[in-house]
């Protein structure tokens, strides 16, 4: 099977999965107890007005009609109106997708940039005190809840030292001509440092520990010994053969990491008041703003699926043995 067919098949699979997840979500929310519109309707409305509002949100229609509308929204991005503000949901969340992507992207990239060499270093120093210490350190950062390290980070770097902003994404009152201008502005980067580092501090341990294990495994492979036999220098063997092969499982893990990163945005963004999807989702869930909650969830799920897909592609690219079937 060729790459093209593989990609087509994966895309079809992803689309089907996506719709399945969406369906689950739809019924999950319908099955939830309570009137979803209670928050919006409040107490100031008559029955008639309430009914009108219900109609506005399409809640008066039979379930299958609602379901159909909901499913089409996945394609049209017309996720309906927020129960709280009445605004189109897509308008509320579209910017946040970027904000989340930038933060999570930065932290995952950072995590990999730190973690992979660190893991390789650990494997290289196998059996030494340094390695042991390194592993424990990685495990510690993996055990500390992100929100807690986030709090500590804020406490130290913002409250105590005053070096970094304690949250949000920008200086007040600044307008940017484009997303690019925004995401490259010094003020934005200053705001990005702490949350990205905190998240990366958590995430780097996954590639680090995996890289270590995978390196150790690869270092036992015959081709590594053989490369040494060929008279190739130790460093070149490590880099060209051991690390290169050890990277393969790390790529797969990238999908998992990205998945957790996307999910973890919920916590991180709340701690750092980052205006992203995760924080919006938390807000929406607390406020019973179902359309927004559903839409953010779906976007997050979509991001996870895309990350999985990209990891698959990258794996296929990196590992010539993958034959796409």
């Amino acid at each position: 099977m060729g790459l093209k067919e593989f990609v087509t098949r994966r895309i079809i699979q992803i689309v089907v999965l996506y719709f399945a997840i969406a369906t689950m979500l739809f019924f999950l929310f319908r099955a939830a107890p309570g009137d979803p519109l209670a928050a919006y309707i409040g107490t100031g409305f008559t029955e008639e007005q309430a009914a009108q509002i219900r109609a506005t949100f399409g809640l008066d229609q039979p379930l299958h009609v609602q379901y159909w509308k909901y499913m089409t929204s996945l394609v049209t991005f017309n996720f309906g109106l927020s129960y709280i503000t009445g605004d189109p949901v897509w308008g509320i969340i579209q910017d946040r997708i970027w904000n989340t992507l930038v933060l999570m992207g930065t932290s995952v990239v950072l995590a990999y940039l730190i973690g992979v060499p660190f893991g390789a270093y650990l494997a290289w120093n196998r059996g030494t005190k340094r390695e042991r210490f390194g592993v424990v350190f990685a495990l510690i950062s993996r055990s500390a809840p992100v929100f807690w390290t986030g709090l500590l980070g804020i406490w130290i770097f913002s409250f105590k030292l005053g070096w970094l902003p304690a949250g949000s994404m920008s200086q007040p009152g600044v307008t940017y001509s484009s997303k690019l201008a925004q995401f490259t502005s010094p003020s934005f980067l200053r705001h990005l440092i702490l949350p990205a580092l905190v998240q990366a501090f958590y995430f780097y341990s996954l590639p680090a520990l995996l890289m270590r294990n995978s390196m150790l495994e690869v270092m036992n492979e015959d081709f590594v010994d053989f490369a040494e036999l060929k008279g190739i220098s130790d460093f070149a063997v490590m880099l060209k053969h051991a690390a290169r092969n050890a990277l393969l499982p790390i790529v797969t893990a990238f999908a998992v990491a990205a998945g957790f990163a996307v999910g973890g945005s919920v916590v991180l963004e709340t701690v750092f008041a980052w205006p992203g999807l995760g924080r919006e989702m938390v807000r929406a869930v607390i406020a019973n703003d179902y359309p927004v909650a559903q839409a953010t969830f779906l976007i997050l799920a979509g991001l996870v699926l895309i990350a999985n897909f990209l990891a698959d592609l990258a794996y296929g690219y990196l590992d010539p043995r993958i034959t796409y079937d």
């Binding site: 007005q49 913002s158 007040p172």
Partner: protein
Amino acid sequence: AGDGDGDGDDTDTETVAGGGGDDTVQMEGFQVPSENVVPQSDLDDAQAIPELTLIVNPPDAQPDDHETSMFVSEEIAKLGLDTTVETMTWPSQSSTVWDGTDWDMTFWQMVGRPSRLDPDEFSVQMGHSSFQEGYNYYFWEDDEYDEKVMAQREELDQDTREQLIKECQQIFHDRGPSTFLMYPQKTIPWNSERWDGVVELNGMGAVNMLTFSNIEPTGDRTELNIAYDQELQALNPFDQSGEIDMIQHRMIWDRLAWPNESALPEPRLAEEFNWKDDTTLEVPIKQGHTFHDGEPVTAEDVKYSYNIHRDYSTYFSGPVEPVNEITVVDDHTVEFSFDYHFAPFPMAAMGRIAIIPKHKWTDIIENKMDVDSPMLYQEDEPLGSGPMEFVHWKSSEEVRLERFDDHFDPIAYEARNSRIIPSVQTMLTQLENGTLDMLANYRGDKDVLKDRVESNDSLSMAATTTVGFKQISYNNDRPPFHIDGFRRAMNHRFDKETIVNDIYSGWGRSPRTAWSPPHWRAGTTTSSSATSSACRPRRTSSSRPGSSGTRATGCSTCPPTTPKSATNPLHFELLWD
């Protein structure tokens, strides 16, 4: 009930003292009718009640509220009743209490809002029997009350209206469907080194329209950065449900009227209010004023703006309901004719309804709305005629408004950035390091705030007692709370001074009455006195709640908690103090 612990003298005195037995403040204004003493037979019924449950939110969100509930519960226990405190999150509390009937007592709080400055809102919604689905969630009914509270609505004469309100308060107090515990103070810190002219509005606090039209930068930073802890819901001139939104609205869209320093409606876009007779109000508007896009503001716009509230169901459909017709007299004059005389109109409608550009909204309503309700339409660039123009709204981040230079009442600074910062800690840090100039709704610990403000020369703080309050409500439909006397016994059981001073560390005021005094009589304080107003009695460790009788001694060097303006007419001082 009251016969359990020898402390029962509260129930058999005819004159009820507010708070604990040794409360020295006399409630001179109140006569307690003798039939309100608990009849023995009713009490027998009451004893059949096994255990009373008091619902309160978990201590984490509001530790003081929780502590108060614990205190209250202990006090009730002293009456010989079994009580427990049940912790519930706000959603469960709301569904149990608000939507349900299976509850005994609940801790409840209402926050101060500008519209609540007029006693109408509280007195009607919390007391009128038709609001049992609403704020009268405790199922209280009183025919006399209903009659009086509706009568004040139609009363044009302020003095008579005050009298009616006072009578309503009296009835409410006598029958005690819920016990008022305190009026909390709203604490608002700002950077007084950079900003001058903060107005502290009695009953409201420092965040109000007067502040934002008054305030002036002292240095070269001419943008005001103000923090909110929540996202605003909409920038829609017909939807003002969110507390956060209100100032933004008022900066973007003018109203015909606005509340002055005494919280009385005062002409704004209107030149004057001209009651031609009981049911006709003529309103000339300021000439030469334009919307931000340069189009003139005309009488047509005013009529159009008001008609939307009549045509569609909005939050203000109520206040415009008595309006029979709106006529454009000329380009700058509209005339409202009413079905009956409607006294609250200037405040309830003219002070709140935004004037929108007809030329923009006709198109929106005809062509652009997805949903048949203008309340649900969000303009990309909200357009009004207020002192500030909309620049951007980055959701969850900030709303930026810039000065509209052609306004008839121009402001002295160039822009206002409303930052959305959910974390109290972050807010505070940013205020301290100068990123922020003011915290619009600091919900954190007030002692912490005070410490920070005191240790920072550039910061000031206003602590204002608001019209919001905290109360214990009883389920009036359920024994033993269906007995007036029982409720009143409870009412007098709790020493509110202790609660305010010991539990809330003095950040509030103990009430002598139901809801609020009529705030149109209240006044303002200028920012100069505000910092010191935060001074309050220090809690001493010996004055524990429960050790009834001991009370915190006020800090002798401090002025009274709430600053009083010299111009405060305070007709109802008696009720208030």
